[in-house]
Assembly symmetry: C2
Amino acid sequence: MLDAKASAALHTLAADFDAGRTAALARAVSVVENQRTGSDLLLAAMHSRVGRARRIGLTGPPGAGKSTLTTRLVATYRQAGFTVGVVAVDPTSPFTGGALLGDRVRMEAVALDPGVFIRSMATRGSLGGLASATREVCDVLDAFGVDRILVETVGVGQSELDIARSVDTSVVVLVPESGDSIQTLKAGLMEIADCFVVNKADRPGADRLRNDIELMLGLRSGLSLKDQPAHHGVSLSQLANPAKAARAAARTDDVARWIPPVLRSCATTGEGIDEMITALDRHFGYLEQSGDLQRRRRTRLRERVIDVVEHRVRRRLWTDAATNAWLDERIPELERGGTTPYAVANALLARSGSLLSTE
Amino acid sequence: MLDAKASAALHTLAADFDAGRTAALARAVSVVENQRTGSDLLLAAMHSRVGRARRIGLTGPPGAGKSTLTTRLVATYRQAGFTVGVVAVDPTSPFTGGALLGDRVRMEAVALDPGVFIRSMATRGSLGGLASATREVCDVLDAFGVDRILVETVGVGQSELDIARSVDTSVVVLVPESGDSIQTLKAGLMEIADCFVVNKADRPGADRLRNDIELMLGLRSGLSLKDQPAHHGVSLSQLANPAKAARAAARTDDVARWIPPVLRSCATTGEGIDEMITALDRHFGYLEQSGDLQRRRRTRLRERVIDVVEHRVRRRLWTDAATNAWLDERIPELERGGTTPYAVANALLARSGSLLSTE
């Protein structure tokens, strides 16, 4: 698939990457993010070194102060001597360009530090998938030897939730005035939270929001979480993914279960950041001791394989000229109602077996 | 795949549907939306009757007044004697539960009319896909004989854009005070708009917003649209879809090109609704005369086949016990770094060829 020149360029890139050159990291991330030729080879070559970084997700509504919080966390981790990667996932919203631009400018405070690597993920075409691409970019940062990876997502859209689910520790950031009373938070977001942060905690309503979250978590009602009805039914994606379902089940049955702390912060003044770092460390310790870390990372590996399989299926089918020509020939009959999309799909798969199963 | 009882139930449902019973329509939509057993058979049976309804999409930011506008359009279409289907696509945002509830209540004004069918689409698991499910529900309404289908989406997230792209006429609704100056609108949304509506046009800034849109459309600059640089590069999804790419190319080269009108409305008073209906009719006439209607509908058929193929691939692979067990066995080696997700994916596809190609 690669010509000699491309192969040599990839070799040089891999060697520079292994030597720890930051420019090579930036190029490797670009190759992977844009799925340029050799992306798979590069990721495969670095696979054995993936798994050392701690991945922390920050999810919350627009305006919750996630970027300011991220900037504070980066600064604190840097003071402690850790290298940090930040992956900011732009929502695909056509309506939020302005706000995000502001975030990026704010983050420049830490962006000049060579121990910090910041990357914004753009919208992806349908062949790739944002969640899949984000996981791959995290893998590159991880293999490069970055100690902490902060993944910042706006909690809208299924793909952002998928991203938040694939980190080691998920932080859900809320603000008092966002108008998002706890009742309006859908189950998905509550389910993934390992830690809550009520940001802008100096504003009115902060205590009430904290109370609401804790009440929901069952802390105030005197019930242990085990006695609460399970809110999370088995989703289609769990059906398709026994490991995820097993993880959900294992969590419910755990005896010494992790109870998400509800922290206060004021990202603009830096208040509450140390407590947050402590909570993140504590959660990581819990993950290690409970076996959840291995389970989460196994799930992540499984999902990586599924991503790659689905991506290959799409590429092999829809970039194949013969398949496209064959499909085009079926359209007039479909138009006349002489056949159905289901019959055509079955016929397409029947003729594409060898296309799908061979490289 | 169906037992005798399920098969008989499906037969009854199909017969009631054919007889035009509204209860059967509601049940058919549920079967299709939740992909219950027999969903494919039902859709295949009605496929030859799909293609008579006009599909109109309304996309815009939260709070733009899309639901009120939809309600007005429904009322006007009903007065003209048309039956109407409304498909409201809930964004998967965990943060917007409250606002949507309000929308649904407002829409009750028309919901009691037996000539109106309203359906809210919920979040979908990863096996299905929101855009795919929405297209299928529209097909059911279309086959039932509904004259106009209004598809209401919040313009955030890739799947909502995909939905907006799959209708006959796309209306983009904006409001002066939404803070979304035209510069922040991403290319995707401008590209799909066949008609702009500046809603809440009695508020300050409405004229400026209209001017901005028209300026962007090149009307004020004295340049024809053909002279403008093409903003829409070929996306990955176009690469994967030659028909879409061809359509984009055909549009640019058209001599008598459709120039999206920029209308004013005030949904709460009903001002501008008649003009909107006129513009929609005019656009449909253009679609018929230019051949765009056939092109769009062919693209839609093609995308339906692609949806079905990808859904089948996922179902056949990830609900297959042997494949899952095989994948689980690979995880420890993946963990040790002894193999890579790419090698495992290739091996998985190599062993699954017959699984994928046979029903």
